[in-house]
Assembly symmetry: C2
Homo-oligomer: 339 residues x 2
């Protein structure tokens, strides 16, 4: 495995064919007789041949690498981001592509550089804000891209995400169906709303619209992430709205603090207060009581993003926006209606 690497010329010599024949066997772009193909593949295996990525990229004008642009912003729940990231990597490998990790600290220059140098064939952008400088850059880039999340103006772009508006509404519908009339949403930290992060705002809108539509009474609040602040917020809420019987929590970090705070204030879940969370299943399942939840299907979103990107790379037309339908799983935290 050390020393100089095996080249396609050595494989060709070993198999007694031309270099181009080896190439065609490997790419399948021309018909090759079964016999020749077998001989070539045998040689590939015995010599341990791996095509040189640089040479391949140069000749084919395809690097077989996509960029994953992943800023790490305050208030984002890192484990969920990593779920997206790993699902993108796994999906990319299924299309024989690798993933280059780009972070925020280079700003848009990193994106421009990676694209202009043909380091990557396309890009997947995560953590998209409503007004996001990177998005304008993408529009002028020759390289195709897919966004995970929707900016305010998604025209000319390809975006995938969970339908957070529906997710917010779905929580309300579930609680309304159980007879709850007075609900509250505890959302992301306020900094996330101020920054204009689409998914947070859309859940909020979905929640408030559904509350209106069902003629319920609802209050939506940002939610910070220390136990102290959560406890204070929950305490204030219970005091100012004593008739509150249900809570929607859209904040992975705060979920457990919310449960702790309810415990602290002597409220039982679900008997006194029903709770629905928008969070990964493992968080919902490990809470006590296990929480009724809408999960963010990171796996599906990442896979879909890669699929769309590969379609664009092949020149196929793709829809501008893909919204995944949320699904709600009922667990113990909403087993019963209000007293």
């Amino acid at each position: 495995m050390s020393g100089r690497a095996v080249t396609i010329a050595e494989v060709a010599r070993h198999a007694g064919v031309a270099v181009s024949t080896v190439s065609y066997v490997l790419s399948g772009k021309r018909a090759i007789s079964a016999d020749t193909r077998r001989r070539v593949l045998d040689s590939v295996r015995t010599l341990g041949y791996h095509p040189n990525a640089g040479a391949r990229a140069l000749a084919s004008r395809r690097a077989n690498v996509i960029a994953l642009v992943l800023p790490l912003r305050a208030g984002m729940h890192v484990p969920v981001l990593m779920q997206f990231a790993t699902s993108v990597v796994t999906a990319a490998r299924r299309y024989d592509h690798d993933v280059l990790l780009l972070t925020a600290d280079e700003g848009t220059d990193g994106i421009r550089r990676a694209a202009a140098s043909a380091l990557v064939d396309g890009l997947v952008l995560m953590d998209v804000e409503l007004h996001d400088g990177r998005v304008d850059l993408l529009r002028e880039l020759a390289e195709p891209s897919v966004l995970i999340g929707f900016p305010a103006d998604p025209s000319g772009l390809t975006c995938v995400d969970l339908d957070f508006t529906r997710a917010g509404a779905l929580c309300v519908e579930h609680l309304a169906g159980l007879g709850h009339r007075k609900l509250a949403l505890l959302g992301a930290p306020s900094v996330v709303y101020e920054r204009g992060t689409g998914f947070a705002r859309r859940t909020w809108e979905g929640f408030t619209e559904a509350v209106d539509r069902y003629g319920l009474s609802g209050i939506a609040l940002p939610c910070e992430e220390t136990f102290e602040e959560v406890a204070a917020a929950v305490g204030g809420l219970l005091e100012s709205h004593p008739d509150l019987t249900a809570l929607v929590v859209h904040n992975e970090t705060a979920v457990n603090h919310v449960l702790g705070a309810l415990r602290l204030h002597g409220r039982r879940v679900p008997e006194d207060v029903a709770v629905v969370a928008i969070c990964p299943d493992d968080i919902a399942e490990r809470s006590s009581p296990p929480l009724t939840s809408v999960l963010v299907p990171a796996e599906d979103v990442g896979r879909e993003a890669v699929r769309l990107l590969m379609d664009k790379l092949e020149g196929r037309a793709v829809p501008g926006g893909t919204l995944l339908e949320p699904r709600l799983t009922v667990r113990d935290s909403t087993r019963s209606g209000p007293a």
Copy 2:
């Protein structure tokens, strides 16, 4: 930015020099007159030239890309892993390198492929276990690599990590200095120890050795991560060891549950029980009370790993093992000694 990309030949023509001259200006590998250099750089700027990564890699046998091998295993604290990852990316960029993200699901094949195809010049491995199949592969690879974490046998490898043995001991020393005689360690989930994850075991050893050295009494336990289990573990501990006055927690996820459990059992921190955590500063600061802690300097470790890798790429000799000295920050959770 669309259409065909600018090539070095166009830059050369625009600047009125030879292609090789442009190359030398950009790489600095030969002396170039100030005047020529300026003309070339001007042309580079006005044309918006970015060297083609594939061509460069092919000709120079250097991809200027390193691999970050990041398995996501159960029981690992993802935010901390991401701190490592971003710090590696940031550091790599300072050496003009990009980072290719490799995950676990390809196993060692992914590593072998990336190395053999010259996709990457070197590798950084994270989340290293004591007996790790990937490690044997690294030894036979021509490409240099650096591990974040130490396997059982680090011979022939380059490893960096926080000195977790010292970290465990440091917590004990701090508590001993405050007069505590009866301590407990709540560690990682048991699956992490069973898997043979070095840092978890080393903290454990550092803790128990220090306890012995100081003639104290100590008990070390794995710690699961749901509130229920933590509460049960803490409850059991307080019951079986009523004279316990100090807790060391080496589990980012469980830290807050531990505090919640102590609250639940009517113990005040630090008056009844002192708590020291090994976790990132932001977790320690946001707890209530803020926790005395030893932080895992992910930033430093990642930067150091990249520095070592670059040294190896340049053919410089590097130390086999680098252990970073832990630092303990005193906060409210250990302000006083035992009653």
